[in-house]
Symmetry: C2
Subunit: 419 residues, 2 copies
Amino acid sequence: MPPDRISATYRIETAHPIGRAVESMAGEQSTGTFVRVPGETDALRERFGARVERVTELEDADGPSLPGSRPPGGAGAAPRFRRAEVVLSWPLENVGPSLPNLLATVAGNLFELSAFSGLKLVDLDLPPAFGEAYPGPQFGPEGTRRLSGVEGRPIIGTIIKPSVGLAPGETAALVGTLIEAGIDFVKDDELMANPPHSPLGRRVEAVMRVVNDHADRTGKKAMIAFNITDEIDAMRRHHDAVLDAGGTCVMVSLNGVGLAGVAHLRSHSQLPIHGHRNGWGIYARHPMLGMEFAAYSTFYRLAGADHLHCNGLRNKFCEPDDSVVASARRCLAPLFGRRVMPVIASGQWAGRAGETYERIGSIDLMHVCGGGIMAHPDGVAAGVLSLRQAWEAALSGTPADEYARARPELRRALEAFGP
Amino acid sequence: MPPDRISATYRIETAHPIGRAVESMAGEQSTGTFVRVPGETDALRERFGARVERVTELEDADGPSLPGSRPPGGAGAAPRFRRAEVVLSWPLENVGPSLPNLLATVAGNLFELSAFSGLKLVDLDLPPAFGEAYPGPQFGPEGTRRLSGVEGRPIIGTIIKPSVGLAPGETAALVGTLIEAGIDFVKDDELMANPPHSPLGRRVEAVMRVVNDHADRTGKKAMIAFNITDEIDAMRRHHDAVLDAGGTCVMVSLNGVGLAGVAHLRSHSQLPIHGHRNGWGIYARHPMLGMEFAAYSTFYRLAGADHLHCNGLRNKFCEPDDSVVASARRCLAPLFGRRVMPVIASGQWAGRAGETYERIGSIDLMHVCGGGIMAHPDGVAAGVLSLRQAWEAALSGTPADEYARARPELRRALEAFGP
């Protein structure tokens, strides 16, 4: 793609001739409307019109994937629903390097077009101007390692459970147990931000007292991702409270805050931003509607997330393993020279380490285990150890059950959570 | 619902026993996780657990609406996919009155749960604390009428076309033609915000010179919705530029800016916020995935939108008329005492006025016609007149074709765009 063009890949499904359908996408998202208007000169269309770069036909669908499409020829005909992967491009000057406006151009009204019975934004390829306008992740894997003091293996983490209901002192006590057990990283649940029963300021104070005490004694400071999801000014205050208390990470619900909010936080932040994608299922769940992770993550990486949730292998949700692996690898492929740290979470425990390493092929990830640490039969310390041992096994190329023979924590985890 | 509880209505589809599936939704979004953890005491669950308020079974689905669900009993069984409408509630103290965090609680991970082959957030019922924390629309229909000087009929508007490619002077010339023709309202396209080829500052200056000149001469100032979609600080600057130039409206792409960004703009704004929902198809297109307008609009009304796009009757997109009508009526039902102005747009022209009035039952709307004004065979002035005449007919209960006999502009519109 030339350096001054924005390009987007889609998977589409239509009962109309594909060429004409794709031209209508390009028209709708650039100079065209449903009738030719006086100002739409040939010169204007030549300069500002979106261009169809590539159309690759895929296998037909059995029937329409989404309701509401209007096949040609009316209700009587028996339409054929063709699928294709298509690439459109736009001149950068149509939009400028602005993420909120990019969304309107590459996504926007497209999902409502009646010519399509399926339309998914698959990927984006952006000109360097976006990398200049947006600094992207400030810390990424390297900065996160530096702050958490973990080298040579993934960052092993867990999540505060129950998700809601604990008072600040109770959360601090639980964090105390976890860091005594050697945990690297602890995150708030996405359901717990700044509610009346656990105001963020009091939680930060109580938790960081425990974290700082431990760091003073041992030299190891666990990274705590405090959920600062909130309105703009409140997020800045929350960030400052975490920073002032010696904290090393803030977390936000990306879809709740939105692109402009995350980018604003990035411009203010002195801490890694842990990006939680809850609500992601709306974009991801249907194969012919919404947005794939490659496109979605491009937006939030540029906006400044340092960590991005990717689910985990054999997660408790609907996402297939191949999709998890592709997402994590995408995070680790530089975008304008910067990588983001994939967060492998959901249904995770020691038994997933080997396969995770094998398939993702990197240690630059956060391996976040809830029940897999908290519900270890010998307690959380054994839970944390079981994860470290499992990664030692993976990194040395030793099968986990063999490595577990002399390591009771890993052995007990395999017995408790294994098949 | 008691005044201290948040309540959400969903349409779900599951091959699991409905009671158990719904309990898993409630658990996932409050105190539960996939294993019982030590801190989840009965007292904590009693106080913070989400509650199932109602389950109404609907007709079964023929098969799974979405891929990825895991029916009980494994692959061999022939599962029955049951549908139901369910209401869950949460104590306000789980979340506090925060929209970005409310989204994580009522939507969040739910769409990924493997027990469901369909899940749609239908509606929300929020406690008064949200109405106190968020001022909502600052202008609404009343303030918009005051600023645009239109009483006794809908606000008649159009959109700048071509969507992209016009230079500021060309946009100003087109606006000049439109306001000479008597238009009430003109909006930028969602594809046109602050691109290099038409910087917002220069566009505002050029357009407002024309608008202010006309207002000085005639006393009528057309409302121009300048698309200020951008990052937080830039949106503030753009808003101030519009205000300083005498402008009376700003427009944002809601999904591009996000909840925190829109609420921040509202806290700063002295102008009505025209809320464009492009990207809405991701939420709306599938009947068993995403969010209905009733829920979606609740978020952006509280965040501060004064106008909300609802599509129009017989629009060029996929949305059925019943959905358009329900959305517009929902905008006109007060939320914490405040209404938002529905924007009826897409495929609109004079011939839609009668049915729009009949079905929505209000004149408190913006009727935005692109081609229906711009492509009128006798020019834009005739296009604007045809809309005014069509609404006169509708409001006096006269059939449009009868009213058109003595009114050539309406008659020519009916001839050109009618069936």
